[in-house]
Amino acid sequence: MTIITPSTIDNEAQQREKLLQPDLISGSEILLRSLLLEGVECVFGYPGGAVLYIYDAMHDNPEFKHVLTRHEQGAIHAADGYARSTGKVGVCIATSGPGATNLVTGIATAYMDSSPVVVITGNVPTHQMGTDAFQEADITGITMPITKHNYLVSDVADLARIIHEAFYIANTGRKGPVLIDIPKDVSAALTYFSWPDEVAISGYGASVQVDEAQADVLIDALATSKRPVIIAGAGVVHADAADEMIAFAQAIGAPVTTTLLGLGGFPGDHPLWLGMPGMHGTYAANTAIQHADLVIAIGARFDDRVTMRSDGFAPNARIAHVDVDPAEIGKILTTDYPVVGDVGAFLRYALARVISRNASSEAPGGPSSNATRHTTAWIEEIAAMKRDYPLSYKDSEEVLKPQWVIQMISDSTHGDAIITTDVGQHQMWVAQYYNFRRPKSLITSGGLGTMGFGFPASIGAQIGNPNALVISINGDGGMQMCSQELAICAVNKIPVKIVVINNQVLGMVRQWQELVYEGRYSSIDLSGSPDFVKLADAYGVKGLRATTKAEAIAAWQEALVTDGPVLIDFQVPKNECVFPMVPPGKTIGDMILSPDQA
């Protein structure tokens, strides 16, 4: 397989020295040099009039790697998938006007899930701005509410500093997308290159120390809690704190539920793991929250799909909330124990305190405040819930059940793959039936719920992780929203395994219409969709189809041993629903566990 990697550099320091030379160069060359100095391996983009100087500069810089997508939306989702799977900043480039506006969905997707992406857009020349010039759009105005910050570069002398700041802002504190809009005359203008040594942004301080006084109050509360539950969110993954999370949960004897974006932040095969909470959460996770006396949210934001009816959420619990973003605390729920700070730093601090307290309480004659001993009965209660109410579906030997397909994929990888999903039923089945064991192994659009995200994101994830098995799991609806990127899989031999869970309908909408709108099905029929095997073939990608378990196993094995991209069309029934389900307006205690109860 050919994966784009940074060109071999004999002497990295020498190369860096070369890049830092104060040469008289254009804004476009400054952009490329600055991206290389930031360690960017690859950018995703699509050229156009306002970025012609930038693409011209690429012509003379073969060490600068660019993947030409087939739509700007593909570029931003790929950059996002790269960022989420590597923890490094993903970068994409688009031209002015429609190029820039085609990025908007992807920028909002990255913003909602705190993904570090730097977006470069061209714009019309400065003297034409505000005149409704050809392909002019006020992209900084448009993206103000969906970026962590954005810049309109008016002077080429500011460009290197702005790029350096943008990377810093994107990947520190609560991460997020930063857009840099570069008018065409700025990308053409010449100046002497000067790379800033450090970042000094008045008004931005990202190193959020843990407030130890706040943390101490929470740690004291742990000692008296008999029924604690940890809700681990994306913050654990972003902070690279999965190991600390395990140690902390074990030390305090608390079960852990992981939100959709927190999946993989705590291993799915750990005895303390409860599964996902919320609308399609497990019985054990939702019931544990409703019975808890202390809910500790760590890097999670009490999204409405987690809390459902928030006034009936965790009715018996005090709420602790640890988050790097002070604005998240108290936004949804009244918080008894707020802790502002980096999740990893909090966990390390708290772990040290809990370990020393446990040690002193275990000393002969010491107070019996050992946290794990406190919670033994609770852990047993939860183990019984997990045993008595596991996830379940009615399997079949006649038709292929989507849940079975996900389980088959999960069993084949042992959690050792990067999974991207699109949005809808298949996404929930992946969250339920794929056993995630390590952080950054699930890439999914949680906050914005963007259909069309999963497949291009998998391309970015594969480029960022050339040796990993990357599997893109999609529905037949979302697959058609960015299927044009099959071209870049074929051209660049990007060996993503593309799964289509094909039920011929918009499944999640159908499910709601069945369960909430009394079976009045409206605009969910996807008949007329292309034959996905032929579609793959048209792009030069191998396509396989499965309609039975035997075919599914054979096709999946063939896909795994195929050296290159493969699309597998798994044909599943239309009428399967995702359970458990908490109906809208209900609390997470009011789950429909199976179709018989619906």
Binding site: P145, R174, Y204
Partner: protein
């Protein structure tokens, strides 16, 4: 309750749009907003009058602080502050009412900044209540136009912020 926030922000294009956009998309009302140069070049001070309980007010502060161009924010609703607003009020006059109106104006310590045949324009400075009171008194004579600046405010001397160099404070992001 009514909330007054004071914010120190970068003096850059688009900062007012960022702040106003944040208030609008989070559903916070803006009763008034004033912006002007702060004590150091490159920075502006904004005074925002809004409404909300303590939870909403702390969210306003926290959300504003997330904007990179916002250096410092403070909810000064419950503090001792100097609050001022300026209004220009154009009121109809006739030869018979002119003297009567100037008598009404006397205790308000206003300036008459423009005089015409059929109207005069009055400049009044003070807190919102004073300006509301004056306008109410002038209404029977026929108020032609009003232009108000909105409230601007500073914490009174002796309170916590006094004498502190605001720009040296690192904010949390």
């Amino acid at each position: 309750m009514e909330r007054t926030l004071t914010a120190l922000v970068n003096d850059r294009p688009g900062v007012l749009a960022r702040v106003a956009g944040l208030f609008s998309r989070r559903g916070y009302n803006i009763a008034s907003i004033t912006v002007g140069a702060a004590e150091e070049p490159g920075f502006s001070r904004m005074t925002i009058v809004s409404a909300g309980d303590d939870v909403v007010a702390s969210q306003m502060v926290a959300q504003l602080l997330k904007l990179v161009d916002v250096i410092e924010v403070r909810d000064i609703s419950k503090e001792k502050v100097v609050r001022r607003e300026l209004a220009l009020v154009k009121v109809k006059t006739t030869p018979t009412t002119r003297l009567e109106i100037t008598h009404i104006l006397d205790p308000f310590r206003v300036s008459i900044v423009d005089v015409g045949h059929y109207s005069i324009t009055v400049e009044v400075t003070g807190d919102t209540e004073k300006i509301d009171a004056l306008i109410a008194l002038l209404h029977p004579y026929g108020v032609v136009q009003i232009a108000r600046t909105g409230v601007t405010a500073l914490v009174r001397s002796g309170a916590a912020l006094d004498g502190q160099n605001h720009l040296s404070d690192e904010k949390n992001a």
